[in-house]
Protein backbone atom coordinates (compact mmCIF):
# COMPACT_ATOMS: atom_id res chain seq x y z
CA UNK A 1 0.00 0.00 0.00
CA UNK A 2 1.41 3.35 -0.98
CA UNK A 3 2.06 6.07 1.54
CA UNK A 4 -0.66 8.31 0.09
CA UNK A 5 -3.27 5.55 0.26
CA UNK A 6 -2.42 4.86 3.87
CA UNK A 7 -2.74 8.54 4.76
CA UNK A 8 -6.05 8.74 2.91
CA UNK A 9 -7.28 5.71 4.86
CA UNK A 10 -6.35 7.41 8.11
CA UNK A 11 -8.23 10.51 6.93
CA UNK A 12 -11.23 8.32 6.19
CA UNK A 13 -11.00 6.97 9.71
CA UNK A 14 -10.94 10.52 11.10
CA UNK A 15 -13.93 11.57 9.01
CA UNK A 16 -15.82 8.54 10.37
CA UNK A 17 -15.01 9.49 13.96
CA UNK A 18 -16.39 12.98 13.30
CA UNK A 19 -19.71 11.57 12.09
CA UNK A 20 -19.94 9.25 15.10
CA UNK A 21 -18.93 12.08 17.42
CA UNK A 22 -21.72 14.34 16.21
CA UNK A 23 -24.16 11.51 16.69
CA UNK A 24 -22.82 10.95 20.21
CA UNK A 25 -23.08 14.62 21.06
CA UNK A 26 -26.80 14.39 20.39
CA UNK A 27 -27.49 12.11 23.36
CA UNK A 28 -26.66 12.88 27.00
CA UNK A 29 -25.26 9.39 27.55
CA UNK A 30 -22.69 9.37 24.77
CA UNK A 31 -21.90 13.07 24.48
CA UNK A 32 -18.61 12.94 26.30
CA UNK A 33 -17.31 9.85 24.54
CA UNK A 34 -18.39 11.49 21.29
CA UNK A 35 -16.23 14.50 21.97
CA UNK A 36 -13.26 12.32 22.98
CA UNK A 37 -13.67 10.25 19.83
CA UNK A 38 -13.60 13.34 17.64
CA UNK A 39 -10.49 14.57 19.46
CA UNK A 40 -8.84 11.22 18.82
CA UNK A 41 -9.82 11.31 15.16
CA UNK A 42 -8.40 14.81 14.93
CA UNK A 43 -5.09 13.69 16.45
CA UNK A 44 -4.88 10.85 13.90
CA UNK A 45 -5.55 13.24 11.01
CA UNK A 46 -2.96 15.76 12.20
CA UNK A 47 -0.40 13.03 12.84
CA UNK A 48 -0.92 11.54 9.38
CA UNK A 49 -0.56 14.95 7.74
CA UNK A 50 3.05 15.20 8.92
CA UNK A 51 3.88 12.33 6.55
CA UNK A 52 2.04 13.72 3.58
CA UNK A 53 3.76 14.75 0.35
CA UNK A 54 2.83 18.07 -1.19
CA UNK A 55 3.94 19.09 -4.68
CA UNK A 56 6.03 15.91 -4.75
CA UNK A 57 8.07 16.58 -1.63
CA UNK A 58 7.57 15.97 2.07
CA UNK A 59 6.29 18.88 4.15
CA UNK A 60 8.62 21.87 4.40
CA UNK A 61 8.90 23.95 7.56
CA UNK A 62 8.03 21.09 9.91
CA UNK A 63 9.65 22.94 12.79
CA UNK A 64 7.67 26.04 11.99
CA UNK A 65 4.49 23.96 12.01
CA UNK A 66 5.39 22.48 15.38
CA UNK A 67 6.24 25.90 16.77
CA UNK A 68 2.91 27.34 15.62
CA UNK A 69 1.06 24.38 17.13
CA UNK A 70 2.98 24.79 20.36
CA UNK A 71 1.96 28.46 20.56
CA UNK A 72 -1.65 27.50 19.86
CA UNK A 73 -1.70 24.85 22.58
CA UNK A 74 0.00 27.10 25.14
CA UNK A 75 -2.68 29.74 24.62
CA UNK A 76 -5.72 27.51 24.15
CA UNK A 77 -5.44 25.02 27.00
CA UNK A 78 -5.27 27.43 29.95
CA UNK A 79 -7.89 29.69 28.36
CA UNK A 80 -10.30 26.84 27.81
CA UNK A 81 -9.59 25.26 31.21
CA UNK A 82 -9.71 28.20 33.54
CA UNK A 83 -12.18 30.67 32.09
CA UNK A 84 -15.29 30.91 34.26
CA UNK A 85 -18.37 28.90 33.27
CA UNK A 86 -20.31 32.12 32.73
CA UNK A 87 -17.87 33.07 29.98
CA UNK A 88 -18.36 29.83 28.03
CA UNK A 89 -20.45 31.33 25.21
CA UNK A 90 -17.85 33.97 24.43
CA UNK A 91 -15.16 31.32 24.50
CA UNK A 92 -16.99 29.22 21.94
CA UNK A 93 -17.40 32.40 19.87
CA UNK A 94 -13.71 33.16 19.89
CA UNK A 95 -12.57 29.60 19.15
CA UNK A 96 -15.05 29.55 16.29
CA UNK A 97 -13.78 32.88 15.01
CA UNK A 98 -10.14 31.78 14.86
CA UNK A 99 -11.25 28.68 12.95
CA UNK A 100 -12.92 30.94 10.40
CA UNK A 101 -9.79 33.05 10.27
CA UNK A 102 -7.64 29.98 9.66
CA UNK A 103 -9.93 28.80 6.85
CA UNK A 104 -9.72 32.23 5.26
CA UNK A 105 -5.91 32.30 5.52
CA UNK A 106 -5.67 28.81 4.02
CA UNK A 107 -7.76 29.92 1.06
CA UNK A 108 -5.75 33.12 0.55
CA UNK A 109 -2.41 31.36 0.74
CA UNK A 110 -3.56 28.66 -1.64
CA UNK A 111 -4.66 31.38 -4.07
CA UNK A 112 -1.24 33.05 -3.92
CA UNK A 113 0.40 29.65 -4.30
CA UNK A 114 -1.55 28.37 -7.31
CA UNK A 115 -2.11 31.68 -9.09
CA UNK A 116 0.98 31.29 -11.26
CA UNK A 117 -0.33 27.98 -12.60
CA UNK A 118 -3.56 29.64 -13.87
CA UNK A 119 -6.09 27.53 -12.00
CA UNK A 120 -9.52 26.74 -13.41
CA UNK A 121 -12.26 29.27 -12.67
CA UNK A 122 -14.05 26.92 -10.29
CA UNK A 123 -10.90 26.58 -8.17
CA UNK A 124 -10.65 30.35 -7.85
CA UNK A 125 -14.34 30.50 -6.96
CA UNK A 126 -13.82 28.01 -4.13
CA UNK A 127 -10.93 30.09 -2.86
CA UNK A 128 -12.96 33.28 -2.91
CA UNK A 129 -15.92 31.67 -1.15
CA UNK A 130 -13.56 30.32 1.50
CA UNK A 131 -12.12 33.81 2.04
CA UNK A 132 -15.54 35.47 2.14
CA UNK A 133 -17.26 33.00 4.50
CA UNK A 134 -14.24 32.43 6.72
CA UNK A 135 -13.62 36.13 7.21
CA UNK A 136 -17.28 36.93 7.90
CA UNK A 137 -17.19 34.21 10.55
CA UNK A 138 -13.97 35.64 12.00
CA UNK A 139 -15.04 39.27 12.30
CA UNK A 140 -18.62 38.36 13.22
CA UNK A 141 -17.40 36.12 16.04
CA UNK A 142 -15.12 38.90 17.26
CA UNK A 143 -18.10 41.26 17.59
CA UNK A 144 -20.19 38.50 19.20
CA UNK A 145 -17.36 38.00 21.69
CA UNK A 146 -17.22 41.73 22.43
CA UNK A 147 -20.97 41.81 23.01
CA UNK A 148 -20.98 38.85 25.38
CA UNK A 149 -17.86 39.98 27.21
CA UNK A 150 -19.56 43.37 27.58
CA UNK A 151 -16.67 45.14 25.90
CA UNK A 152 -19.42 46.87 23.95
CA UNK A 153 -23.15 47.28 24.46
CA UNK A 154 -25.18 44.08 24.25
CA UNK A 155 -28.05 46.02 22.72
CA UNK A 156 -28.68 45.91 19.01
CA UNK A 157 -26.86 48.71 17.23
CA UNK A 158 -29.07 50.15 14.53
CA UNK A 159 -28.82 53.10 12.19
CA UNK A 160 -30.99 54.41 9.38
CA UNK A 161 -30.87 52.40 6.19
CA UNK A 162 -29.04 49.55 7.91
CA UNK A 163 -30.58 46.76 5.83
CA UNK A 164 -29.92 48.70 2.63
CA UNK A 165 -26.29 49.35 3.56
CA UNK A 166 -25.72 45.72 4.54
CA UNK A 167 -27.32 44.58 1.30
CA UNK A 168 -25.12 46.99 -0.64
CA UNK A 169 -21.91 45.72 0.97
CA UNK A 170 -23.05 42.18 0.21
CA UNK A 171 -23.64 43.06 -3.44
CA UNK A 172 -20.26 44.79 -3.75
CA UNK A 173 -18.60 41.65 -2.36
CA UNK A 174 -20.41 39.52 -4.92
CA UNK A 175 -19.36 41.90 -7.72
CA UNK A 176 -15.78 41.80 -6.45
CA UNK A 177 -15.80 37.99 -6.53
CA UNK A 178 -16.92 38.05 -10.17
CA UNK A 179 -14.20 40.58 -11.03
CA UNK A 180 -11.48 38.50 -9.36
CA UNK A 181 -12.73 35.41 -11.20
CA UNK A 182 -12.18 37.22 -14.47
CA UNK A 183 -8.92 39.04 -13.68
CA UNK A 184 -7.27 36.75 -11.02
CA UNK A 185 -6.06 39.96 -9.41
CA UNK A 186 -4.28 39.53 -6.06
CA UNK A 187 -4.74 43.18 -4.93
CA UNK A 188 -8.49 42.79 -5.38
CA UNK A 189 -8.31 39.70 -3.17
CA UNK A 190 -7.04 41.85 -0.31
CA UNK A 191 -9.93 44.24 -0.87
CA UNK A 192 -12.34 41.29 -0.74
CA UNK A 193 -10.72 40.24 2.52
CA UNK A 194 -11.26 43.70 4.04
CA UNK A 195 -14.79 43.92 2.73
CA UNK A 196 -15.67 40.49 4.17
CA UNK A 197 -14.41 41.62 7.55
CA UNK A 198 -16.68 44.68 7.34
CA UNK A 199 -19.59 42.47 6.26
CA UNK A 200 -19.15 40.24 9.33
CA UNK A 201 -19.21 43.26 11.63
CA UNK A 202 -22.25 44.98 10.16
CA UNK A 203 -24.10 41.67 10.01
CA UNK A 204 -23.68 41.14 13.75
CA UNK A 205 -24.14 44.73 15.05
CA UNK A 206 -27.96 44.76 14.93
CA UNK A 207 -28.26 41.45 16.78
CA UNK A 208 -29.10 41.83 20.46
CA UNK A 209 -27.09 40.19 23.24
CA UNK A 210 -29.86 37.71 24.07
CA UNK A 211 -29.76 36.37 20.52
CA UNK A 212 -26.00 36.10 20.28
CA UNK A 213 -25.86 32.35 21.12
CA UNK A 214 -28.05 31.63 18.08
CA UNK A 215 -25.75 33.85 16.05
CA UNK A 216 -22.66 31.98 17.27
CA UNK A 217 -24.26 28.75 16.18
CA UNK A 218 -24.82 30.23 12.72
CA UNK A 219 -21.25 31.55 12.49
CA UNK A 220 -20.10 28.10 13.57
CA UNK A 221 -21.95 26.67 10.58
CA UNK A 222 -20.32 29.36 8.39
CA UNK A 223 -16.86 28.33 9.50
CA UNK A 224 -17.79 24.74 8.65
CA UNK A 225 -18.71 25.82 5.13
CA UNK A 226 -15.51 27.85 4.79
CA UNK A 227 -13.54 24.74 5.79
CA UNK A 228 -15.44 22.72 3.19
CA UNK A 229 -14.56 25.36 0.57
CA UNK A 230 -10.87 25.07 1.52
CA UNK A 231 -11.28 21.32 1.21
CA UNK A 232 -12.34 21.77 -2.42
CA UNK A 233 -9.33 23.96 -3.11
CA UNK A 234 -6.83 21.68 -1.42
CA UNK A 235 -8.50 18.56 -2.80
CA UNK A 236 -9.08 17.09 0.64
CA UNK A 237 -12.09 14.87 1.24
CA UNK A 238 -11.46 15.08 4.98
CA UNK A 239 -11.91 18.84 5.02
CA UNK A 240 -14.96 18.61 2.81
CA UNK A 241 -16.60 15.98 5.01
CA UNK A 242 -15.81 17.66 8.34
CA UNK A 243 -16.67 21.14 7.08
CA UNK A 244 -19.94 20.08 5.49
CA UNK A 245 -20.94 18.06 8.55
CA UNK A 246 -20.49 21.11 10.74
CA UNK A 247 -22.07 23.42 8.19
CA UNK A 248 -25.19 21.31 7.69
CA UNK A 249 -25.70 20.30 11.30
CA UNK A 250 -24.87 23.85 12.42
CA UNK A 251 -27.57 25.37 10.25
CA UNK A 252 -30.12 22.88 11.54
CA UNK A 253 -28.98 23.48 15.12
CA UNK A 254 -29.33 27.23 14.61
CA UNK A 255 -32.92 26.72 13.50
CA UNK A 256 -33.63 24.43 16.47
CA UNK A 257 -32.23 27.06 18.82
CA UNK A 258 -34.36 29.88 17.45
CA UNK A 259 -37.35 27.55 17.58
CA UNK A 260 -36.68 27.00 21.28
CA UNK A 261 -37.05 30.77 21.67
CA UNK A 262 -40.32 30.67 19.74
CA UNK A 263 -38.98 32.75 16.88
CA UNK A 264 -37.89 32.27 13.32
CA UNK A 265 -34.25 32.47 12.32
CA UNK A 266 -34.82 35.51 10.11
CA UNK A 267 -36.54 37.23 13.03
CA UNK A 268 -33.48 36.57 15.17
CA UNK A 269 -31.05 37.84 12.54
CA UNK A 270 -32.81 40.82 11.04
CA UNK A 271 -35.31 42.27 13.51
CA UNK A 272 -32.83 44.12 15.79
CA UNK A 273 -34.69 42.40 18.61
CA UNK A 274 -34.90 44.38 21.86
CA UNK A 275 -33.75 47.73 20.46
CA UNK A 276 -36.96 49.77 20.62
CA UNK A 277 -38.68 48.44 23.70
CA UNK A 278 -37.06 50.60 26.36
CA UNK A 279 -39.48 53.41 25.49
CA UNK A 280 -42.52 51.32 26.42
CA UNK A 281 -40.71 50.24 29.57
CA UNK A 282 -40.40 53.85 30.62
CA UNK A 283 -44.10 54.57 30.11
CA UNK A 284 -45.10 51.61 32.23
CA UNK A 285 -43.11 53.00 35.06
CA UNK A 286 -44.72 56.41 34.65
CA UNK A 287 -48.08 54.83 35.44
CA UNK A 288 -46.95 55.14 39.01
CA UNK A 289 -47.54 51.47 39.71
CA UNK A 290 -45.45 50.32 42.56
CA UNK A 291 -43.63 47.12 43.19
CA UNK A 292 -43.45 45.38 46.52
CA UNK A 293 -40.01 44.69 47.83
CA UNK A 294 -39.02 42.53 50.77
CA UNK A 295 -35.95 41.51 52.74
CA UNK A 296 -34.29 38.09 52.56
CA UNK A 297 -35.69 37.45 56.04
CA UNK A 298 -39.27 38.06 54.85
CA UNK A 299 -38.74 35.54 52.12
CA UNK A 300 -37.23 33.02 54.52
CA UNK A 301 -40.45 33.14 56.54
CA UNK A 302 -42.52 32.77 53.40
CA UNK A 303 -40.46 29.74 52.40
CA UNK A 304 -40.78 28.28 55.87
CA UNK A 305 -44.57 28.13 55.49
CA UNK A 306 -44.48 26.68 51.99
CA UNK A 307 -44.89 23.03 51.19
CA UNK A 308 -43.74 23.26 47.61
CA UNK A 309 -41.10 25.63 46.27
CA UNK A 310 -39.97 26.06 42.68
CA UNK A 311 -36.66 27.72 41.84
CA UNK A 312 -36.48 29.41 38.47
CA UNK A 313 -32.83 30.19 37.73
CA UNK A 314 -31.57 32.57 35.07
CA UNK A 315 -28.44 34.35 33.98
CA UNK A 316 -28.29 36.41 37.20
CA UNK A 317 -27.57 33.20 39.12
CA UNK A 318 -24.65 32.42 36.83
CA UNK A 319 -23.27 35.96 37.16
CA UNK A 320 -23.37 35.94 40.95
CA UNK A 321 -22.05 32.33 41.07
CA UNK A 322 -24.83 31.63 43.58
CA UNK A 323 -25.55 28.07 42.43
CA UNK A 324 -23.90 26.42 45.44
CA UNK A 325 -25.81 28.57 47.91
CA UNK A 326 -29.02 27.90 46.00
CA UNK A 327 -28.45 24.16 46.38
CA UNK A 328 -27.74 24.69 50.07
CA UNK A 329 -31.03 26.52 50.44
CA UNK A 330 -32.82 23.74 48.56
CA UNK A 331 -31.32 21.08 50.82
CA UNK A 332 -32.22 23.07 53.90
CA UNK A 333 -35.83 23.35 52.78
CA UNK A 334 -35.94 19.68 51.89
CA UNK A 335 -34.67 18.74 55.33
CA UNK A 336 -37.78 20.49 56.67
CA UNK A 337 -40.04 18.43 54.46
CA UNK A 338 -40.56 21.07 51.82
CA UNK A 339 -40.68 19.83 48.27
CA UNK A 340 -38.20 21.62 46.03
CA UNK A 341 -37.45 21.57 42.35
CA UNK A 342 -35.80 23.71 39.71
CA UNK A 343 -37.73 24.81 36.63
CA UNK A 344 -35.37 25.02 33.70
CA UNK A 345 -36.23 27.13 30.70
CA UNK A 346 -34.44 25.79 27.60
CA UNK A 347 -32.89 29.16 26.78
CA UNK A 348 -32.37 30.49 30.31
CA UNK A 349 -28.95 32.05 30.73
CA UNK A 350 -26.95 32.95 27.69
CA UNK A 351 -26.81 29.65 25.94
CA UNK A 352 -29.22 26.74 25.76
CA UNK A 353 -28.50 24.29 28.55
CA UNK A 354 -26.61 26.95 30.50
CA UNK A 355 -28.65 26.34 33.68
CA UNK A 356 -28.23 22.57 33.49
CA UNK A 357 -24.49 23.01 33.31
CA UNK A 358 -24.46 25.55 36.11
CA UNK A 359 -26.61 23.52 38.51
CA UNK A 360 -24.80 20.31 37.68
CA UNK A 361 -21.62 22.08 38.74
CA UNK A 362 -23.22 22.66 42.15
CA UNK A 363 -24.18 18.95 42.32
CA UNK A 364 -27.90 19.58 42.19
CA UNK A 365 -29.57 16.17 41.75
CA UNK A 366 -30.62 15.59 38.17
CA UNK A 367 -34.15 14.58 39.25
CA UNK A 368 -34.83 18.01 40.67
CA UNK A 369 -34.28 19.70 37.31
CA UNK A 370 -37.64 19.91 35.61
CA UNK A 371 -38.10 21.00 32.03
CA UNK A 372 -40.42 23.83 31.08
CA UNK A 373 -43.62 21.97 30.16
CA UNK A 374 -43.56 19.75 33.20
CA UNK A 375 -42.67 22.73 35.39
CA UNK A 376 -45.69 24.65 34.15
CA UNK A 377 -48.10 21.91 35.20
CA UNK A 378 -46.37 21.60 38.59
CA UNK A 379 -46.34 25.35 39.23
CA UNK A 380 -50.13 25.47 39.68
CA UNK A 381 -49.75 23.71 43.00
CA UNK A 382 -46.58 25.50 44.10
CA UNK A 383 -46.63 27.88 47.05
CA UNK A 384 -43.59 29.90 46.10
CA UNK A 385 -41.90 30.46 42.76
CA UNK A 386 -38.45 31.86 43.51
CA UNK A 387 -37.06 33.52 40.41
CA UNK A 388 -33.31 33.80 40.78
CA UNK A 389 -31.83 36.13 38.21
CA UNK A 390 -34.26 35.23 35.43
CA UNK A 391 -36.54 37.71 33.74
CA UNK A 392 -37.51 37.27 30.11
CA UNK A 393 -38.09 33.54 30.52
CA UNK A 394 -40.92 34.20 33.02
CA UNK A 395 -42.35 37.29 31.33
CA UNK A 396 -46.11 36.78 30.85
CA UNK A 397 -46.02 39.26 27.96
CA UNK A 398 -44.84 36.32 25.86
CA UNK A 399 -48.31 34.82 26.35
CA UNK A 400 -50.58 37.84 26.69
CA UNK A 401 -49.22 40.75 24.72
CA UNK A 402 -49.23 40.27 20.95
CA UNK A 403 -47.35 43.57 20.64
CA UNK A 404 -44.42 42.35 22.68
CA UNK A 405 -41.27 41.36 20.81
CA UNK A 406 -41.12 38.12 22.76
CA UNK A 407 -44.78 37.26 22.05
CA UNK A 408 -45.01 33.56 21.27
CA UNK A 409 -41.88 32.53 23.15
CA UNK A 410 -42.68 29.67 25.50
CA UNK A 411 -42.18 30.74 29.11
CA UNK A 412 -42.16 29.29 32.58
CA UNK A 413 -45.44 30.42 34.09
CA UNK A 414 -44.15 31.61 37.43
CA UNK A 415 -47.38 33.59 37.89
CA UNK A 416 -49.29 30.33 38.41
CA UNK A 417 -47.67 29.88 41.82
CA UNK A 418 -49.31 31.24 44.97
CA UNK A 419 -46.43 33.67 45.56
CA UNK A 420 -43.72 34.91 43.25
CA UNK A 421 -40.37 36.12 44.55
CA UNK A 422 -37.84 37.83 42.31
CA UNK A 423 -34.20 38.11 43.29
CA UNK A 424 -33.01 40.98 41.12
CA UNK A 425 -30.08 43.33 40.98
CA UNK A 426 -32.25 46.29 39.97
CA UNK A 427 -35.46 47.19 38.19
CA UNK A 428 -33.59 47.06 34.92
CA UNK A 429 -35.35 44.97 32.30
CA UNK A 430 -33.83 41.63 31.35
CA UNK A 431 -31.36 40.81 28.62
CA UNK A 432 -33.91 41.23 25.86
CA UNK A 433 -34.64 44.73 27.22
CA UNK A 434 -38.35 44.15 27.80
CA UNK A 435 -40.36 45.34 30.77
CA UNK A 436 -41.82 42.50 32.85
CA UNK A 437 -45.44 42.87 33.99
CA UNK A 438 -44.97 40.12 36.53
CA UNK A 439 -42.85 42.45 38.66
CA UNK A 440 -45.97 44.59 39.28
CA UNK A 441 -48.24 41.64 40.03
CA UNK A 442 -49.70 41.84 43.59
CA UNK A 443 -48.45 38.28 44.24
CA UNK A 444 -44.89 39.35 43.57
CA UNK A 445 -42.23 40.32 46.07
CA UNK A 446 -38.89 41.68 44.93
CA UNK A 447 -35.63 41.29 46.77
CA UNK A 448 -32.97 43.59 45.38
CA UNK A 449 -29.30 42.73 45.51
CA UNK A 450 -26.76 40.26 44.25
CA UNK A 451 -28.37 36.83 44.02
CA UNK A 452 -25.61 35.08 45.94
CA UNK A 453 -25.71 37.59 48.82
CA UNK A 454 -29.47 37.41 49.03
CA UNK A 455 -29.46 33.62 48.97
CA UNK A 456 -26.79 33.49 51.66
CA UNK A 457 -28.90 35.75 53.89
CA UNK A 458 -31.95 33.60 53.20
CA UNK A 459 -30.08 30.44 54.17
CA UNK A 460 -29.03 32.08 57.43
CA UNK A 461 -32.58 33.27 58.11
CA UNK A 462 -34.12 29.87 57.39
CA UNK A 463 -31.57 28.22 59.68
CA UNK A 464 -32.35 30.70 62.45
CA UNK A 465 -36.10 30.24 62.25
Amino acid sequence: MSRETLIDLLYLFSATTFVLALKGLGSPKHARQGNMLAAFGMAVAVGATFFKYVDGHSLHHVWLILLAMFIGVIVAVPTARYVKMTAMPQLVAIFNGVGGGAASLVSITEFVHIKSSHPATYVTLEVLLGVLIGTVSFSGSAIAFAKLQELMTGRPITYPGQQAINGFVGLVSAALIVTILITSSTPLLWILLALSAVLGVIFVLPIGGADVPVLISLLNAFTGLAVAASGFTLGSNLLIVAGTLVGASGILLTRLMSKAMGRSLSNVLFSAFGSNVTASGATTREDGRSVRSGTPEDIAILLGFASRVVFIPGYGLAVSQGQHVLRELAELLESRGIEVFYAIHPVAGRMPGHMNVLLAEANVPYEQLVEMDEANSELQTADVALVVGANDTVNPAANDDPGSPIYGMPIIKADLAENVVFLKRSMRPGFAGIENELLYNPKTTLVFGDAKDTLTKMVAAVKAS
Partner: protein, 107 residues
Amino acid sequence: MGNVLLQYATVLILTAFVGTEIIAKVPSILHTPLMSGSNAIHGVILVGSMLILGEANTNLQEVLGFLAVILATLNVVGGFVVTDRMLEMFKPKTQKPKGPKNEEVAQ
Protein backbone atom coordinates in the same frame (compact mmCIF):
# COMPACT_ATOMS: atom_id res chain seq x y z
CA MET B 1 -13.28 20.56 -14.20
CA GLY B 2 -14.73 17.12 -14.73
CA ASN B 3 -14.49 14.15 -12.48
CA VAL B 4 -12.64 15.49 -9.48
CA LEU B 5 -15.07 18.32 -8.89
CA LEU B 6 -17.98 15.96 -9.36
CA GLN B 7 -16.54 13.56 -6.84
CA TYR B 8 -16.10 16.34 -4.26
CA ALA B 9 -19.61 17.61 -4.92
CA THR B 10 -20.97 14.10 -4.33
CA VAL B 11 -19.18 13.91 -0.99
CA LEU B 12 -20.47 17.38 -0.07
CA ILE B 13 -24.09 16.65 -0.82
CA LEU B 14 -24.19 13.25 0.88
CA THR B 15 -22.42 14.64 3.95
CA ALA B 16 -24.88 17.51 4.16
CA PHE B 17 -27.71 14.99 4.47
CA VAL B 18 -25.81 12.98 7.07
CA GLY B 19 -25.07 16.16 9.05
CA THR B 20 -28.70 17.20 9.30
CA GLU B 21 -29.97 13.67 9.87
CA ILE B 22 -27.77 12.74 12.82
CA ILE B 23 -28.55 15.76 14.97
CA ALA B 24 -32.24 16.08 14.15
CA LYS B 25 -33.36 14.73 17.52
CA VAL B 26 -30.91 16.43 19.84
CA PRO B 27 -32.50 17.54 23.15
CA SER B 28 -32.29 21.28 23.85
CA ILE B 29 -30.00 20.89 26.87
CA LEU B 30 -27.34 19.53 24.52
CA HIS B 31 -27.57 22.38 22.01
CA THR B 32 -24.62 24.23 23.46
CA PRO B 33 -22.25 21.26 23.87
CA LEU B 34 -23.17 20.16 20.36
CA MET B 35 -22.38 23.60 19.01
CA SER B 36 -19.11 23.60 20.88
CA GLY B 37 -18.22 20.07 19.78
CA SER B 38 -18.89 20.78 16.13
CA ASN B 39 -16.88 23.97 16.59
CA ALA B 40 -13.91 21.78 17.51
CA ILE B 41 -14.52 19.52 14.51
CA HIS B 42 -14.21 22.31 11.98
CA GLY B 43 -10.81 22.87 13.54
CA VAL B 44 -9.79 20.16 11.06
CA ILE B 45 -8.74 23.20 9.01
CA LEU B 46 -5.52 22.60 10.96
CA VAL B 47 -4.76 19.84 8.44
CA GLY B 48 -5.22 22.35 5.62
CA SER B 49 -3.12 24.94 7.44
CA MET B 50 -0.28 22.42 7.88
CA LEU B 51 -0.39 21.61 4.18
CA ILE B 52 -0.18 25.24 3.06
CA LEU B 53 2.66 26.00 5.45
CA GLY B 54 4.34 22.79 4.33
CA GLU B 55 4.25 23.85 0.69
CA ALA B 56 5.00 27.55 1.31
CA ASN B 57 7.83 28.91 -0.82
CA THR B 58 7.61 32.65 -0.32
CA ASN B 59 7.80 34.75 2.83
CA LEU B 60 4.19 35.83 2.43
CA GLN B 61 3.00 32.24 2.23
CA GLU B 62 5.11 31.31 5.22
CA VAL B 63 3.71 34.11 7.36
CA LEU B 64 0.10 33.40 6.36
CA GLY B 65 0.58 29.67 6.83
CA PHE B 66 2.20 30.12 10.21
CA LEU B 67 -0.69 32.30 11.37
CA ALA B 68 -3.19 29.79 9.99
CA VAL B 69 -1.61 26.92 11.95
CA ILE B 70 -1.72 28.97 15.18
CA LEU B 71 -5.37 29.95 14.69
CA ALA B 72 -6.41 26.44 13.68
CA THR B 73 -4.63 24.92 16.69
CA LEU B 74 -6.48 27.35 18.95
CA ASN B 75 -9.73 26.23 17.32
CA VAL B 76 -9.05 22.51 17.70
CA VAL B 77 -7.54 22.44 21.17
CA GLY B 78 -9.75 25.15 22.66
CA GLY B 79 -12.83 23.62 21.08
CA PHE B 80 -12.30 20.13 22.43
CA VAL B 81 -11.25 21.26 25.90
CA VAL B 82 -14.23 23.61 26.31
CA THR B 83 -16.65 20.95 25.12
CA ASP B 84 -15.17 18.40 27.47
CA ARG B 85 -15.46 20.84 30.34
CA MET B 86 -19.13 21.44 29.55
CA LEU B 87 -19.87 17.74 29.29
CA GLU B 88 -17.91 16.93 32.42
CA MET B 89 -20.61 18.84 34.27
CA PHE B 90 -23.36 16.78 32.75
CA LYS B 91 -21.82 13.56 33.89
CA PRO B 92 -22.04 13.50 37.71
CA LYS B 93 -25.70 14.35 37.75
CA THR B 94 -26.70 11.36 35.67
CA GLN B 95 -24.66 8.94 37.70
CA LYS B 96 -23.74 10.04 41.20
CA PRO B 97 -27.00 11.41 42.62
CA LYS B 98 -29.14 8.65 41.16
CA GLY B 99 -27.93 5.99 43.58
CA PRO B 100 -28.94 7.53 46.90
CA LYS B 101 -32.12 8.98 45.42
CA ASN B 102 -33.33 5.56 44.35
CA GLU B 103 -32.60 4.18 47.78
CA GLU B 104 -34.69 6.91 49.34
CA VAL B 105 -37.56 5.97 47.10
CA ALA B 106 -37.16 2.34 48.10
CA GLN B 107 -37.37 3.17 51.78
